[in-house]
């Protein structure tokens, strides 16, 4: 867990290191980009306005040239002369003059400004056209409002026009021609400048072409009767800026990813030996005292791993030495107990035999009586010796447990049913829930028998033995509690060792045998004090499944 935390902390540190430059750089870069593109947008608007001015100048030059040429056109001259002679020309006679000259406005005026023939608005012939009549003859082209006839109605639109006198008519007739600044022209200008072009003015039909998306920067060119507005949109600039920012963020994300990857590898390099050490400590705590940690590392980590391995190695040596000492002590205890058990019968046996030998030597007439009296006692002592030797032999020959499925509560109840007890000892059975375990039935029966026997022997004056089963997590528990004097707290640790007993009689191997059986089942046998102060022996073995 501590390794995981360390790894997380290391990863976070790496991420922070990777993000920090990004956090600092992006707003700054964004602001700089914004400023740069704002200047670019303004420059584009200026360029569009300059292009529009140039286009207007070019158109004015074209109009000037075309109208001058029209004024010298023989057809225009003949129409003018026709007027002079009083013969009205056809209303649309000027169409032939306008043909091929790219003029959308061409009208012949008399001296009073009355339209006499028109290529673009013959329906106005006979009337004064205020817009065109006011154009100064010979001056540079100007923008004036002109009427444009459409099926849907008559509209006022701006036109760039010039007026020239028809020389053949001695100045009595004026030709006014030019170009209507209509939607087609606006469209052309929009394509040329890439801007939104709007032409508007009082009473004029507004025209617009092109597109300006996003924020717009506008430039307005006054054209006399009209106003030309050019708007440049920031959409393209915004898109470029967004692309740049995206690229910057993508680079940042890539850097973050790389930093996290490198951090992960680095953290793993550091935490792996730590985790291995943690596992090693756990193993040592679990009893594997000679656990060795194999982990790559360098520097302090390497020193720590080596120190740990040296420590466990020393601990293993010390443990083995301690175990040998304990074994020796155990063997001493067993030998002492064996000597004690063997010595006790030997003394009365020796005394009886010496008494009999002395009576035989002294031809004592009570020899027969003594012999008859002593022989059974001597046989009893011999039998006692044999039993003692059998007990020790059984302890030495304890076989490995043959585990098989068993329901502990039912089995205990069944076993208690066939177990006998002294008349002054009562047996109380407190069954728990069904407890499935894997156990060797014979060894478990031996264990229960030893525990019951130990309880009975502890209650010389009688009492009650309580047997109960219960579940305790993943363990099945079997308890035998008596109402005897109990076992002193300082003796409880030793009472499970071979040859240790608190009773006047007994080999001291019963509980030791029980403890060994419990270990063979992967469990343990504990000594505790019961509720009445008697002894409480508790068997804990793993539950099946």
């Amino acid at each position: 867990m501590s390794g995981l935390r360390l790894r997380t902390l290391l990863l976070l540190a790496f991420a922070l290191v990777a993000l920090l430059p990004l956090v600092v750089t992006v707003p700054f870069a964004s602001r700089r980009i914004e400023q740069t593109f704002a200047r670019e947008l303004s420059a584009r608007a200026d360029a569009a306005a300059a292009l529009a001015r140039a286009e207007l100048d070019r158109l004015a030059a074209e109009v000037d040239q075309a109208v001058t040429a029209c004024a010298q056109d023989p057809l225009a001259e003949s129409v003018a002369l026709q007027l002079e002679t009083g013969v009205p020309p056809a209303a649309d006679a000027m169409r032939g003059v306008a043909e091929g000259r790219q003029l959308s406005v061409l009208t012949l005026h008399d001296a009073s400004g009355v339209s006499r023939s028109s290529a673009f608005l013959p329906a106005r012939v006979g009337d004064v056209e205020p817009g065109l009549a006011a154009v100064q003859v010979g001056a540079a082209p100007v923008v004036v409002p002109v009427e444009v006839q459409r099926p849907e109605g008559v509209q006022l639109r701006p036109a760039l026009v010039a007026a020239r006198a028809v020389e053949a008519a001695h100045g009595a007739v004026t030709l006014v021609g030019g170009q209507v600044l209509d939607g087609a022209w606006a469209d052309r200008l929009a394509r040329l400048t890439g801007a939104l072009v709007e032409i508007q003015g009082p009473s004029l039909v507004p025209e617009s072409a092109g597109l300006a998306e996003g924020r717009t920067v506008r430039r307005v060119l006054p054209l006399g009767a009209a106003e030309l507005s050019l708007a440049v949109g920031s959409a393209a600039v915004d898109e470029t800026r967004a692309t740049l920012l995206r690229a910057l963020l993508a680079a940042g994300a890539l850097g973050l990813g790389l930093a996290l990857g490198a951090g992960f590898l680095f953290a793993r390099g550091i935490t792996r030996p730590v985790e291995a050490l943690t596992d090693g400590v756990r193993s040592v705590a679990g009893g594997a005292l000679d656990t060795q940690v194999r982990a790559a590392g360098s520097g302090e980590v390497r020193v720590l791993v080596d120190a740990f391995n040296r420590m466990t190695e020393d601990l293993g040596h010390a443990t083995r030495a301690l175990r040998a000492a304990e074994q020796a002590a155990a063997w001493e205890g067993v030998a002492r107990s064996l000597a004690h058990e063997l010595r006790n019968p030997l003394t009365p046996l020796q005394m009886s035999l010496e008494t009999l030998l002395a009576a035989r030597k002294a031809r004592d007439p009570r020899f027969e009586v003594l012999f008859v009296e002593s022989a059974p006692a001597m046989l009893e002592e011999v039998e006692r010796l044999r039993r003692t030797i059998d007990v020790f032999a059984r302890f030495a020959r304890m076989p490995a447990a043959r585990l098989e499925p068993l329901e502990l509560t039912a089995w205990t109840e069944q076993t208690l049913g066939i177990a006998g007890a002294r008349p002054n000892v009562s047996l109380r059975w407190e069954p728990g829930p069904p407890l499935e375990v894997h156990a060797d039935r014979d060894q478990l029966a031996q264990l229960l028998h030893n525990l019951l026997k130990n309880a009975e022997e502890a209650m010389v004056a009688g009492g009650q033995v309580t047997v109960r089963t219960r579940a305790e997590g993943d363990r099945a528990v079997l308890e035998v509690e008596d109402t005897g004097p109990g076992i002193a707290a300082e003796d409880r640790a030793r009472v499970l060792e071979p040859g240790v007993t608190s009773k006047a009689t007994g080999s001291g191997l019963g509980l030791a045998l029980g403890a060994r059986i419990a270990q063979g089942h992967g469990g343990s046998l504990e000594v505790d004090a019961g509720a009445t102060g008697g002894a409480l022996l508790r068997l804990r073995i793993p539950r099946a499944g």
């Binding site: 009205p88 013959p122 329906a123 012939v125 006979g126 009337d127 009427e147 849907e152 109605g153 008559v154």
Partner: protein
């Protein structure tokens, strides 16, 4: 009849076949086998605008159309009526029409009374002039429908009231018998002989025309002029004209009742003389009254009122193929724009205009009609344009009750003057036939409508 026509022509025409025969013999065996020189091919150069008038509603179109599909009769310039496809007979019930023997459509089908009745019914659907001509016939549409199912020697048109000018009205080109069922179109001096070509019909009741063949060439103005000047054509239709000739092709601005105030607005701003001079051109004259000057209508402009102003919008229908109508429509649009009214122009074909105006589309319409050559039938046409059949019936019944022709004409002129300004009709201008002829063309005359009669035309 053929002999009679030849006899009525010049001596040249009488001797020409003989001369041809003589020259043919002199030319040898091959020449003798060839046909003797005869009437030649009459070549007409048409401007595209004339060719577009397939129904023959304009004077030029009527001339061309009349060569291939003759009307029932012709009113000569003298006023005499020449029966062409039918003869007329007054009866107590009305007027009886007798198809002339030999009148056959191009595919050979004879002109019987059912065909005649169906042709008249069809003409009523297409032309206001035809409807006006047949207005005095009692329940005209139903009567003709019934007569169209009955075979008979005589087609009797019962009259709702006396109408002495019916014969003259029936001679109008708008009532030309025409079969649109693939049975040969009309009955004309010429029968189709390929595209834009015709050959003289020997079966025409009035006799074979003098020229043997007819060629119609649609040319640009320049090309047509060159063709005429180079004698590649005997006549050019669509340009020029005789200003002194009968001008009966009148143009009116007709309004729906709701838009009638626009007529007053325009009348206050309209200079008809300038309109004719600058926008119509050709043999045209202002039309200040309902009847043209040729029929005794007023020829001087009345007192001008102060230009009025208005507002709102209106839709004007006009015929796209007629240059004069487009120019006039544009001028009216300008005048109304000056008056504060936005006028939308909508051009369509003559047929579509007739149909759409009848269906209620548009607020204003330019209607050009070739008026009959008598005041009373001409007034009937003007009244027909208003769509007010009750007023038409009332006026015609009153006029028809006058038996004397001269007095009836005078009464018609007086009523026209009285009705002017009250009807939803604004007279604009009247035009004559736009035609230029090869000066060498001989025996060409005009009828009462001012149309060319080319039956006897020949050229050296």
């Amino acid at each position: 009849m053929n002999d009679g026509r030849a006899a009525s022509g010049t001596p040249w025409r009488a001797v020409a076949p003989w001369l041809g025969l003589v020259f043919g013999i002199a030319a040898g065996p091959a020449g003798a086998a060839a046909r003797a020189r005869d009437g030649g091919t009459l070549r007409l150069a048409l401007l595209p605008e004339v060719r577009a008038d397939r129904a023959g509603e304009t004077p030029e179109g009527a001339v061309v159309h009349g060569l291939l599909a003759s009307p029932l009769c012709r009113v000569e310039a003298s006023g005499r009526l020449t029966p062409l496809l039918a003869t007329f007979q007054r009866t107590a019930e009305g007027l009886s029409l007798v198809p002339r023997p030999g009148a056959r459509f191009g595919a050979g089908a004879p002109l019987g009374t059912p065909e005649l009745a169906r042709a008249l019914a069809r003409a009523m659907e297409l032309s206001p002039v035809a409807r006006a001509a047949l207005a005095p016939v009692r329940d005209a549409a139903a009567t003709l429908a019934q007569l169209g199912r009955t075979q008979g020697a005589v087609l009797t048109l019962p009259l709702a009231y006396p109408w002495p000018d019916l014969e003259v009205a029936l001679c109008h080109p708008a009532l030309t018998p025409w079969r649109g069922d693939g049975q040969g179109g009309g009955i004309g001096l010429y029968v189709g002989d390929g595209p834009e070509r015709g050959k003289a019909s020997p079966d025409f009741p009035e006799g074979r025309p003098h020229p043997d063949a007819l060629v119609l060439s649609t040319l640009s103005r320049r090309a047509a002029q060159r063709a005429l000047e180079g004698r590649g054509a005997q006549a050019l239709l669509g340009e020029g004209g005789d200003p002194s000739a009968q001008a009966l092709f009148a143009t009116y601005l007709v309004a729906r009742s709701g838009s009638q105030p626009l007529l007053g607005l325009l009348d206050s701003r309209l200079d008809r003389a300038a309109l004719v001079r600058s926008f119509v051109g050709g043999p045209a004259a202002p039309l200040p009254g309902l009847l043209p000057p040729a029929l005794g209508g007023p020829d001087g402009a009345g007192p001008r009122t102060a230009p009025a102003r208005g507002s709102g919008t209106a839709l004007l229908l006009y015929v796209a193929d007629r240059r004069a109508q487009r120019a006039v429509a544009e001028r009216l649009q300008i005048l109304l724009a000056d008056a504060g009214v936005q006028l939308t122009l909508s051009a369509r074909t003559a047929e579509a205009l007739e149909r759409d105006w009848g269906a209620g589309q548009g607020d204003l319409a330019l209607r050009s009609v070739l008026l009959p050559p008598l005041p009373a039938p001409a007034l009937a046409v003007v009244l027909e344009l208003t769509g007010d059949t009750a007023a038409q019936r009332r006026e015609l019944a009153a006029l028809g009750a006058v038996p004397d022709a001269a007095e009836r004409a005078t009464r018609a002129r007086e009523r026209a003057l009285q009705l002017a300004g009250t009807l939803p009709v604004l007279p604009l201008h009247v035009e004559g036939l736009r035609a230029r002829l090869d000066p060498s063309l001989i025996d060409v005359r005009r009828d009462a409508l001012g149309l060319l009669v080319l039956d006897d035309a020949w050229w050296p």
